[in-house]
């Protein structure tokens, strides 16, 4: 039977963020879904966001958010793995335990974190590895995100290294496991534990209690979360309450099966030929998103239009962002902000021009990092089964009137 016959079936939409806006499945990667509306119900400490689930909460930022270098806390996306999240944490009694292969098992309270360790701040992009997953065809497994499973914040906290030092790692410790307060419904279900290889520990990895000058919102991991700049957010454990040092890597579903890509040059595979050898998704691809205008915006002919957006990569730094208004033939440099937020932060960009003809106009943006890595066209992005690491050239289409 022909594949497309199947897609003639009616697709019933359900829920506040339903899938299935495209009825024909293409063989090549497309642009992520871009027409989803925010829910009419706001979650705690959040403005209304695109809502995929309430249990666990899965919320996406709308495109309009991506015009400034920092993402406001109440517009910041949310992704939990376990449905049972504590709805109250007492900051006066909360502490994090450090155990396993340590000289002494310790508990460190929030107050101690804030007073007995060197306080550090850094700005870093937090992005889900499956951001823009809707671009992949055939549909890859996982939440069907549009472009908004990402944000950038100024995080304040203490170095993980310093906290580990206080407990004193034993010589044979090689892996550090992180566990948060979220739980599954059944007690037999393993927690969402992630691990870091000790040799990857560096000064930029912090335990943060503050986000953009405020306490972390509950849904972003109050009162404490792990920040690992430059890598996708699968290990940025929220409501972190335990750190365990081990000699061997633990056998964990979320490490061995989830958040992995083919271990080959193109990090790609086909549905018929899945690659057996896999690796963690880790370093973020260079990427950029247009926050304004959005598709469908009406702009005046010959009046000045200022395109705004953000660009980032895994920490090499953004070299340039280019804009095309002719379908990707000619590219012109956008203006970048001063980059003072550091190499792990968004670079906000602007590009001003005057549309010359009425009708539909497509605006594209493309970032290149200091390593020379640049974004491919959406159609040239290769498929992987989890729909990870999409970084196709972004585009919006406005109407010039």
């Amino acid at each position: 039977m022909q594949r497309r016959d199947f897609f003639k079936k009616a697709i019933v939409v359900a829920g506040s963020a339903a899938v299935g806006s495209s009825a024909i499945e293409a063989a090549e990667t497309v642009h992520p879904i871009d027409n989803r509306k925010v829910s009419d119900i706001a979650f705690p400490e959040k403005r209304p966001l695109i809502t995929y689930s309430d249990r666990p909460p899965l919320l996406e930022s709308p495109r309009e958010v991506f015009t400034s270098a920092l993402t406001p806390n109440d517009l910041f996306f949310v992704r939990w793995h376990m449905p049972m999240i504590p709805n109250y944490i007492n900051p006066n009694t909360f502490s994090i335990s450090i155990n396993g292969l340590v000289e002494k098992e310790i508990y460190v309270s929030l107050k101690e974190l804030k007073t007995q360790f060197k306080q550090v701040a850094l700005t870093a992009v937090l992005q889900c590895g499956g951001n823009s997953r809707t671009a992949f065809k055939p549909t890859a497994g996982g939440i069907q995100w549009g472009v908004g499973a990402m944000g950038c914040a100024k995080w304040k906290g203490v170095r993980l290294k310093d906290v580990l030092k206080k407990a004193g790692l034993k010589k044979e410790a090689a892996w550090i496991g992180f566990n948060g307060e979220d739980k599954a419904v059944y007690s037999e279900t393993a927690n969402f534990v992630r691990e870091l290889k000790l040799e990857h520990l560096n000064d930029d990895i912090i335990l943060a209690y503050e986000m953009n000058g405020e306490d972390l919102p509950y849904l972003n991991g109050y009162p404490l979360r792990l920040i690992i700049p430059g890598v996708y957010s699968d290990s940025w454990i929220k409501m972190i309450s335990n750190i365990t040092a081990t000699k061997e890597k633990q056998q964990l579903h979320f490490m061995e099966k989830a958040y992995r890509i083919p271990d080959n040059e193109c990090e790609c595979e086909t549905p018929e030929n899945l690659v057996k050898k896999t690796k963690p998704i880790e370093e973020m691809n260079v990427n950029s998103i247009i926050g304004y205008p959005v598709t469908g915006t009406k702009v005046r002919n010959a009046s000045s239009l200022v395109v705004r957006g953000v660009a980032f990569d895994g920490g090499h730094g953004i070299e340039k962002v280019e804009i095309s208004i002719d379908g990707g033939q000619l590219w012109e440099d956008a203006l970048l902000d001063d980059g003072s937020e550091g190499k792990f932060a968004y670079r906000a960009f602007t590009y001003a021009f005057k549309p010359k003809n009425s009708g539909k106009l497509t605006i594209m943006c493309k970032a290149t990092n200091k390593k020379g890595e640049t974004q491919p066209f959406a159609k040239d992005i290769k498929w992987n089964h989890g729909g990870y690491k999409y970084n196709g050239i972004d585009e919006v289409t406005v109407e010039v009137v």
Binding site: G15, F43, S53, Y186, G213, D337
Partner: protein, 103 residues
């Protein structure tokens, strides 16, 4: 640029936004498609997570849904005990949230 600067400046002052007494996550209704096995599937899946988590996986193959159900049983200890129950859930998912492909 000025606007950006203003936002950054505003954010650098410390605010204490923590909510008193915790939060309540709202209930959101994600309606299930009517179909054979809907009630059984609801009972087995939705006790642990919202239907939104399921339907927002996108339209998928029968193998995808079978693998997901098995993952829920093996990894997440979902109480789906018999082969008949597995078939009921997989068939409901594929008939209502399928892409027409077996594999």
């Amino acid at each position: 640029m000025k606007k950006l600067l203003l936002i950054v400046l505003l954010m650098s002052t410390t605010l204490f936004a923590q909510v008193e007494g915790g939060i309540t996550v709202p209930y959101i209704d994600f309606p299930m498609k009517e179909g054979k096995g809907m009630y059984s599937t609801r009972g087995k899946c939705n006790m642990c997570h919202s239907w939104g988590y399921t339907l927002n996986q996108g339209l998928q193959s029968k193998k995808f849904w079978y693998d997901k159900v098995m993952k829920m049983i093996v990894v997440f200890k979902a109480p789906i005990k018999t082969q008949k129950d597995i078939d009921t859930v997989v068939n409901y998912l594929f008939e209502n949230y399928g892409n027409g492909e077996l594999e």
